[in-house]
Amino acid sequence: MNLHIADYLIIIIYFLFVIGVGFIIKRRIKTSNDFLTSGRNIPLWITSLAFISANLGAQEVLGMVASGAKYGIMTVHFYWVGAIFAMVFLGVFMMPFYYGSKARSVPEFLKLRFDEKTRGLNAISFAVMTIFSSGISLFALAKLLEVILHWDFEVSIWLAASIVMIYTFLGGLTSAVYNEVLQFFLIVLGLSPLVIVALHDAGGWSNIKTLLQPQLTHAWRYMGNAESNPMGINFMSLIFGLGFVMSFGYWCTDFLVVQRAMMAKNMNAAQRTPIIAAIPKMFMPLIVVLPGVIAIALLQPAMASKGFSIPSDGKGGLDYTMTLPSLISHYYPTGLLGVGITALIASFMSGMAGNVTAFNSVFTFDIYQSYFVKNKSDRHYLIVGKAVTVAGILLSIVTAYIAKGFNNINDFLQLVFSFVNGPLFATFLLGMFWKRTTGHGAFFGLLAGTIAATLTHGLTLAEGKGGWIYPLYEIHSGMGQAFIVASVSWIVNFCTTIIVSLFTKPKPEAELTGLVYSLTVKPSYHQDKWYLRVVPISLILIAITIILNIIFF
């Protein structure tokens, strides 16, 4: 793939704009809250788009296109099962606690609801995870640019990191969020022509269905048995593992996304943020799953005349990660090629900036201010927040170099993340809906859940992974293994938290007002028009999601 001067011009315009946004926002930054939490002053349309954009990193864009090529239309489960319901639940049930408690972060909410040690455990694990995620995003960007454009790995890393550093250092969270919205439009509009052209070239959806095996074009029909579908999982594992444990664990507790809703101007906007975000999220498979399915259709013998190909992975299979770059290279002419490459760069930078801004909020408020230097002036914490931003970027660069040196570090880190994140939703669910839940219960439940996840992975084997203690049980696919690990960790956390809570002393009810469902006055929007109210929009979204699942059954 060779770029023309016009392609470079588009990339340069993009870089200038994201840096320019940082300079514009800089004038608004007066306090540590402005820098780290945006001062709860961001319009709804921006918080909503930032909410999904924070999740629209490169791993999402490249990964979902790759999954679309590998597993077919079943990949939509990550949206229509694994996202929409959790986003609606967050908006309707959980945002009143997050927003109403006035906590500045998810770990701070855990401190208010439970105790200091639960906050510390969550804050430290989250801070470490965000840095590694950011570093992996940086590594993946540099690696991709090296492979497809033959750009120097070092130059790519330092250039991308420097640009993210400039705009996050200047404008903090607001700057990152504003750029996420720009990046959202760039990714969606930049990749839309690709979908249209490739779909037309493949003869439309009806022709794709005749070209491919039915397992690749039906979302549910072959889910009755794990062996009869390409994902290697049955519908029970999918619904509980992905649809409940992993989905709710991510969308409802991960500070990276919840932070975007916490920036809203008022409670109603905070509740509607994930719900409005669910609308574009619902249709995101058109941009990130459909291209993968089209790519596989184009590889069929009947389509050989199209000349499309995906590089080999060197082991006799296809390098599915290269599906999207291959489509861009095949269909985009000079000019639009620059738009496509810029969209890819934007997705990497969006992922990195989101992680860095979440890291600096948690580190400054939940680690530095809580454990090291208390009761200093606001200016002190503003300076620390800025210094932590620089440190976060530098640590991300170090992580990117570590990832370069160790081939399996990405897999290893993803595994560790799932061990920590898997059980987390059980803690929040019990904490918010059962006032008897105690701080000791939450803390030991989290620890037990993480240990259970580690043991389950060590005792199960899937596609050559896991089984490092003893390969006691074999699972059809790595994805199925991930769902089972998450499910076991969630159940162990749930049970442990209940048992320990029953034997320990709960907080007085007076301290739980606004933090537990039964002790909180529910926000009422009956005076608003129906489309401004949370529940009616949520019901419509759920109905549309069910209809989409039926259409692609």
Binding site: A6, I42, P43, W45, Y178, V181, P333, G335, G338
Partner: protein, 65 residues
């Protein structure tokens, strides 16, 4: 004009207008960019950019400094 830069919709609109101009004008003056897909996309971006730039958002004005 400078005050408008505080409006994110305006900034995003200008970005897409600039990209559309690269695609459309580039296609008119350079053979390398003279492709139907560039023109269609360029015009789509132009329409989107103009709408984003000049759509009046009360919400945005509230946060202007």
């Amino acid at each position: 004009m400078y005050k408008k830069l505080n409006n994110l919709g305006f900034v995003i609109g200008i970005f897409f207008i600039l990209i559309s101009l690269v695609l459309i004008i580039g296609g008119l003056v350079s053979d390398a960019l003279a492709n139907k897909l560039n023109f269609y996309t360029g015009f789509s971006f132009l329409v989107f950019g103009v709408l984003m730039s000049f759509l009046n958002r009360k919400d945005d004005k509230d946060v202007q400094v």
